[in-house]
Subunit: 229 residues, 2 copies
DNA sequence: CCGAAAAGTTGACAATAGCAACATTGAGCT
DNA sequence: AGCTCAATGTTGCTATTGTCAACTTTTCGG
């Protein structure tokens, strides 16, 4: 029987869930320092283990950061999902998602940069499956709102509409992504006007897309590349 | 008389222009490795000087990377400027700038991320003056195209139009910025369709802005914050 | 022509990433 | 139970790095 509460000061040899503890510590340090340049040893210290224990769970720092990034994607997907819960109007759902997306970035720039800043992307390696899953969930939410009429008319999610929906998402996503990063980098501001600015931009997009939606060319994709290639 | 060409193999005690050499080496390594995690010592080695020589020109690594970033901003400003040279149509000028911007990012993602990825932004310190200068130049080009009629009607660059022009730039810039980063991170693709995708997106924006241009609220800004605050 | 400042060098220190060898524990098998 | 073994954690080590301090060589202004 493993009872790690019996003796608070006498940590058992085995931590219980170091993997989780290390990732949590990383999220903490990342939020505090807003930098990915912390040391694995620092995390080990925070978790109260020896400097090399993390290596039993992560091959190297890159792998650890990938895990942190994955947690970030899951959190973002959840926040976007939660934000739309109970909203009947598809347009309102889309707006809520956009706000949640921007908020997520502004509230933790370093995490957002880690997620999207190509720490893994640089290598030719694919993104972890868990990230892709979260990303697909986010995309599905957006697709749902669009097909439900967020752009002024119903656009059923059929094969015929696929490239048009992707066209709309390309515009919508890149606009929100860009705004988020400009806010984060304080190249537009002030941060307090985040909500106001994002609504202005969103308004512009929705109006534009209501008039005409581009169709993506053959072979173009939006979202994390499929696993195979 | 200092003649550093007289004896190729006998490097003089003083390098001549180490500052420049270090920055050049950094740009090289950055382009090759697509990562800012190189060592100052590596740069010193490449420049053929001792491991501490760079510290006579840069207080620390951050300062060196700031200098690299500044060079990147200058290059980007020049590329955008060159791209518009000789184009009479303001709309074409705007499109050319957008393409140059995106190209710059896709051709050297690591540099682009360094420039916009808040290596300096994290600290409360302002961006170097040289960066702000380049940024203002870029913004001036965009303002020029817009006021010349890139959005379908002339919008003179007057105080009355200031917040409307900034509104247009907010949309235009964040859209291009987002598209660039999504391309860089391969979250949209393929890279070969860069030109096609950016033209599609640009088209959507210009059409949208031709219909209505948002007016930014009081206190909002677009571009690097002014020096004072 | 001299003295100080600029530019470069050598040597040191603490911290880090990551490897290897060793120690401890718990889970499965008999 | 008792044994075994893989998972987990630890200690010790090496190579590398950022940065400081002290020293040397040039260059340049007065």
């Amino acid at each position: 029987m493993t009872n790690e509460n019996s003796n608070p000061d006498q940590r058992p040899y085995h931590h219980g869930d170091l993997q989780r503890a290390i990732v949590d510590a990383a999220l903490e340090v990342l939020s505090e320092s807003q930098s990915t340049e912390f040391s694995l040893r620092e995390l080990a210290r925070r978790a109260g283990v020896s400097h090399n224990a993390p290596y039993k769970h992560f091959a190297d720092k890159r792998e650890l950061l990938a895990a942190v990034s994955a947690v970030g994607f899951e959190a973002l997907a959840r926040q976007m999902s939660d934000a739309t819960r109970g909203l009947a109007s598809p347009r309102e759902r889309l707006a809520a998602m956009a706000r949640a997306y921007i908020c997520g970035g502004v509230n933790n720039p370093a995490l957002y940069r880690l997620m999207f800043g190509g720490y893994l992307t640089d290598q030719q390696s694919d993104r972890p499956a868990i990230e892709r899953t979260a990303a697909y969930r986010m995309k599905a939410l957006v697709v749902g709102a669009i097909s439900d009429g967020a752009l002024g008319r119903l656009i059923p999610h059929t094969a015929a509409n696929e490239r048009m929906i992707d066209g709309a998402i390309l515009i919508f996503w890149s606009q929100m992504h860009g705004l988020t990063l400009l806010l984060v980098d304080r190249l537009v501001g002030p941060g307090e006007a985040m909500r106001e600015l994002s609504d202005i931009v969103l308004q512009g997009i929705l109006d534009g897309l209501a008039n005409s939606i581009p169709v993506l060319p053959e072979g173009a994709w939006v979202g994390p590349p499929l696993a195979g290639k």
